[in-house]
């Protein structure tokens, strides 16, 4: 578990992400235009392409103009911003397969360009948070004190739902706050700014980008650090109590059986 997570938070992974993000935000251009002779799509063209894709994949629930369909329980997307679409689609939440209590995260079948197109389209419906630039969420270069403050902010704002080290937690009515072990820096930034599902929005005025970066850095480092033995799921005293009975009392009872069975040799 630990080693996997740390690998995921490897420096190279971060660089890769930055590269991907650059690709998404800046450069549909390079991929979409197969020939140099074809002009790069204008924003209008991209929005039009986004609207097409939206009509195919999203309109059945969100309506042809993103106005939301009450019958599907799908909210209006006017004003949710490009960041919301980017977050929901990259993490595989949207398009929802069927309206469940909570869209499960799954692998996302869309290309970055398609997501960018739909994002741009939805952003054109009304103002909302934009997809962040890497320098808004890149956690490198912070001092230990700043990262420690990030930890304090995380415990104050997020641990009530996501647990003290982001192992996840339960919410009323079958909803859950997912574990954040696999969350990428950009996910964390976008989730805070757009407030998916039951999660509240943490706007720029409440927690500026600087603090978001510190929180991201804290989560990165706390997940990378070794635990003091098996972490038992990082769930707190419930799992500790469970293992105390199973390993401790269970194991000692087996030893007790063995030692009382053992006959003395004379």
């Amino acid at each position: 578990m630990r080693s996997l997570t740390s690998r995921r938070h490897h420096k190279a992974a971060r660089l890769l992400l930055v590269a991907v993000a650059l690709l998404v935000t800046g450069g549909i251009y390079a991929v979409v235009s197969p020939a140099a002779s074809v002009a790069a799509p204008t924003p209008e063209e991209t929005i039009a392409r986004g609207k097409e894709l939206f009509a195919v994949s999203c309109a059945s629930c969100h309506g042809l103009n993103g106005e939301g369909l009450a019958s599907q329980g799908a909210p209006s997307l006017v004003g949710v911003g490009a960041a919301a679409v980017d977050f929901q689609m990259r993490t595989g939440r949207m398009p929802m397969a069927n309206p469940l209590v909570q869209a499960p995260g799954k692998t996302n079948p869309f290309t970055p360009e398609e997501i960018a197109a739909i994002s741009l389209y939805v952003a054109s419906l009304g103002d909302g948070p934009a997809i962040p630039d890497p320098d808004q969420y890149d956690p490198s270069g912070l001092s230990p004190e700043e990262v420690a403050v990030g930890g304090d902010l995380f415990r104050t704002n997020c641990s009530a739902c996501h647990n003290f080290q982001g192992s996840g937690g339960a919410l009323p009515n079958g909803k859950v706050a997912p574990p954040l072990l696999d969350a990428e820096p950009i996910d964390i930034h976008e989730a805070m700014r757009t407030g998916p599902g039951e999660m509240p929005v943490f706007a720029d005025q409440a927690i500026p980008d600087k603090d978001v970066k510190a929180m991201i850095a804290y989560l990165d480092q706390v997940h990378a650090e070794p635990s003091a033995g098996l972490s038992l799921g990082g769930l707190g005293p419930v799992s500790e109590g469970f293992w105390a009975w199973v390993v401790g009392i269970g194991g000692l009872v087996l030893f007790a059986m063995w030692i009382t069975k053992k006959a003395a040799r004379r």
Binding site: Q165, Y218, G229, L232, G251, A263
Partner: protein, 579 residues
Amino acid sequence: MAKPTTVDPEVPQGQRPQRAEPSVAATAAAGSVGWVDDRVPVSSIARKGLRKAFPDHWSFLLGEIALYTFIILLLTGVFLTIWFKPSMAEVEYEGSYALMRGIPMSEAFASTLSISFDVRGGLLIRQIHHWAAMLFVAAMTAHMLRVFFTGAFRKPRELNWLIGVGLLSIGLVEGFAGYSLPDDLLSGTGLRFVDGLVRSIPIIGTWAEFFVFGGEFPGELVIPRLYMVHILLVPGILLALVSAHMALLVYHKHTHFPGPGRKQTNVVGQALFPVYMAKAGGFFFIVFGVTILMGALMQINPVWLYGPYNPAQVTAGSQPDWYMGFVEGAIRIIPNWETHILSTTWSWNIFLPGVGLMGLLFTGLALYPFIEAWITGDKAEHHILDRPRNAPNRTALGVAGMTAYGLFWLSGGNDILATQFGLSLNAITVFMRVAVFVGPVIAFIVTKRICLSLQRRDRERVLHGSSSGILVRRPDGGYTEAHAPITQAEAFTLTQHTELPALEVSETTDQHGVKRTGKRTSRLRARLSRWYAHGRVPKPTAQEIADAGHHGEDEADHAVEPAAGTGELTSSGEPASTH
């Protein structure tokens, strides 16, 4: 096979070891032993002590786990006191754990971090201490269940049962106080919980809070106070109670499971020296080793992840250690009941599950031996344990109690259950609200039925032997299953228990029509007694056994007969074949 040693009965009261006349041998062995022996008769005490018999059954070691983990707690606890600072004064962290650098926190929390990261071996000791605390209470609980289900609490051991109940309840206090000391987020959340419990006491709640916390929560005093409680007051009481517990154990001697040669007047087992000494000593090292391995390999209470207590924070998965989980669970599932009378608030939603449930549990445990004796009218001494099936109502009551406890306990982890098993938090709550009442009733009925079936099976075995699985075709074409007779020893084990008759309501007047005075059996008591005795499967009488041996003369192998070599039932030699 070891020869079980039979330690013979001795009148417990007052029979002091014989006053030593300075024998030739003693004077000759004029060494220090001899010198001491002339003053305190150690060697004769030792001779008797060394021959003290310990029954060989694993369940008799549960109490030893508790004892040994307590010793581990004392040792590791002393280590922790050397560096722990019980102070709530605020400092800025400057230790070596980078992810806390510069965060304001109490000295208590800072010193816990320093034990974890800067004191050599400190983290290991902290983890051992905490695992040992979990095991200490768990072992006491398991030990208590063993005592309960085998009826070991009956006369003359009621006092020791009461001491045990005291140990368990005070153990909870000790564990809770320790859990609160590091002043991390979970400590503080737990203290806040207790603050709520205290405040929920009707009328005096608020005053009680100010008394405990020296002002409003959290104040500056509670950690120093808890520290005193945790390292001085409660360990002192625990130590005294443990000593009394052991002294009574030696005085009453061990109980033992029924079997041939096992009488109310003896104890069959291994002598303390050398066999049991080796076993118990070995087991001590095993308990020590397992606890250390747990401390080394399994993370517990990672306070550096929880962070210092901050009343503005709370984390998902805020739970107490397991032994307070049942109270937490009750609080989580109770509806939000409150009444307002004049200017006072009566928080039933906290008072009932918190103060009420704990009170109910420990009062119930303390009173049970007396209630049972009152119902059965049993005034005899018991040194032979009950097989749980032979006390079906007690066993069923115990399982019902465990079920209720377990359901409350699960409710305490409702959020973890929800995330780990993909359930809805609300559905769990609704289910538990019903289950804590219905579950124990079902558990009672099912357990009682199982006990009675087992009794019936015992009766069958005694009367007809054990089924051999061999079908025999008779000359007339029918089939019968051959039954192998059980050994005399087993037959003894299965039938040794006494069946007390139900109490009758006493006449209010004697045969002359004069009103009776003195103790009478009330209607209620008689009814309870009848209920208690009702339904049990009578054990076969000697006549029935004899008849069973004859009823099919053609089935020669049906009879119960002494197995070869078993000889007399009570000749202690052969262990019963029923283990």
